[in-house]
Symmetry: C2
DNA sequence: CACAATTACGAGGGTCGTAAAAATG
DNA sequence: CATTTTTACGACCCTCGTAATTGTG
């Protein structure tokens, strides 16, 4: 009863063939592979038997790849690369399955979002990254991110978004100053945003005055792949219930 | 000391994974693979260990591919196809290395060429095929033929050609007829070519009269890949010395 | 209770490494 | 005579199959 079924080819043997092609002699290849020369010699014969084709020109003292062998070795190298790629891709998928990558154009939205995701998805790793809209959107489509925070609803196929509150620029004024005294008060005006204030608490001795001019405030949107809607349901629920 | 080196992945294990994907249960897949269920069960665990990734959702009574597993099985199937293709391509090359495929637009040139090749290249199989110029030229470039006989020198990159004599259409006249009696002699004129006459010997009781009108004769050219010039040296020498 | 997956265990085959042989430049 | 490939031989590991176990619908 034969050990193997229909496909008797083994990747490890192809690895040996590729090594022989690189090294040129059995001795050198065996040394690179950390096996004995006889083992390599046997493996090469076995490969020829399995393929039913001569791969080498043999003299008593010398062994070289013939035309068949060169082709086989080249294809083998390619196949080994594909096998390696298979493993790496599966591992990458597994990793992406147990991490939620979050990208954002500004740090503020992440302050509450990242901790919320951590507790909503226990056992998942949360990674956050700041970047520009262009990069984030591309990364979302490529799978680098599962969730990105932008300053407007993106328009891309397979991508959805929900509003995620906003942020308004504020003046930071000494608390005892009347508003009208501003111009005389200081040559060093200070800025902040409402979200910073809510996170860090009021700045000591100052009051935050939101600027209501359009353009001085930002509205955030959380975007995700439509295919991930169910997976991210808990996160979206949090986002929708978030007071912007 | 481990049995295998850096690449521990085995094609036979991937074959099992692909079978499991097709069949859905270990029992069915094992049956298809002609191995026992325990063997298959162990192999699947081994695959997971080697990849360092879970591929299945396991209950006591049921085993299913998870997202990782589905990807792995799909890529495995692709890889197995590539491995199969590798063997087939190497075998095809080997076959082409020990056969000389000859194509021609007409049978006459093959009458002398094929036997000549047989004796010039002992141990080689000679295959001949009749087809049109278009097909032959494409086949020459694709490697289906090593040598093709055309009615003119081809103009294609990587292709060379040498003249290979010609063939002229003849009338076959009753031997005792003077040329002027032709029109009265018969309502069934007969044709042949000079090459046919030389091959078969003179037709009994007739004389062959070559027709010298342009268009009534053909000049043959033997075309081959420039890369094969050395391999075909003996054949080309015969062709050049061939009295057209 | 039939079915599916796992664990236990002994048998067999394949590959390995060491050692010796043969052949070449 | 050093280098390279091949053959011989014994050992070990790995996988296999059979049989028994556990858990499920």
């Amino acid at each position: 009863m034969p050990k193997r079924g229909a496909y008797m080819l083994e990747l490890y043997d192809l690895e040996k063939l590729a090594a022989f092609r690189r090294c040129g002699t059995l001795v050198a290849a065996a040394q690179e592979l950390r096996i004995s020369q006889p083992a390599l010699s046997r493996a090469m014969r076995k490969l020829e038997d399995e393929m039913g084709v001569e791969l080498f020109t043999r003299s008593k003292n010398r062994m070289e790849l013939n035309e068949n062998g060169v082709l086989a070795a080249e294809l083998a190298e390619k196949l080994l690369g594909d096998a390696d790629s298979l493993v790496r891709r599966v591992r990458a998928l597994d990793r992406s399955r147990r991490t939620i990558g979050v990208g954002s154009v500004a740090p503020a939205p992440l302050w509450d979002l990242a901790p919320a995701l951590s507790s909503l998805y226990p056992g998942m790793a949360i990674t956050t990254e700041l970047s520009d809209t262009q990069t984030l959107l591309a990364g979302l489509q490529a799978g680098t991110y599962s969730l990105v925070v932008l300053t407007g609803p993106p328009d891309a196929p397979g991508i959805e978004s929900v509003p995620f509150g906003g942020e308004r620029l504020c003046f930071l004024l000494p608390a005892n100053y009347a508003f009208g005294e501003l111009l005389r008060a200081s040559s060093l005006p200070a800025f902040t945003t409402d979200r910073v204030q809510r996170r860090s608490g009021a700045t000591e001795g100052r009051v935050a005055v939101p600027i209501t001019d359009p353009g001085m405030s930002v509205d955030y949107f959380a975007a995700y792949r439509t295919a991930d809607r169910r997976r991210l349901a808990a996160a979206l629920k949090f986002i929708e219930g978030y007071a912007g």
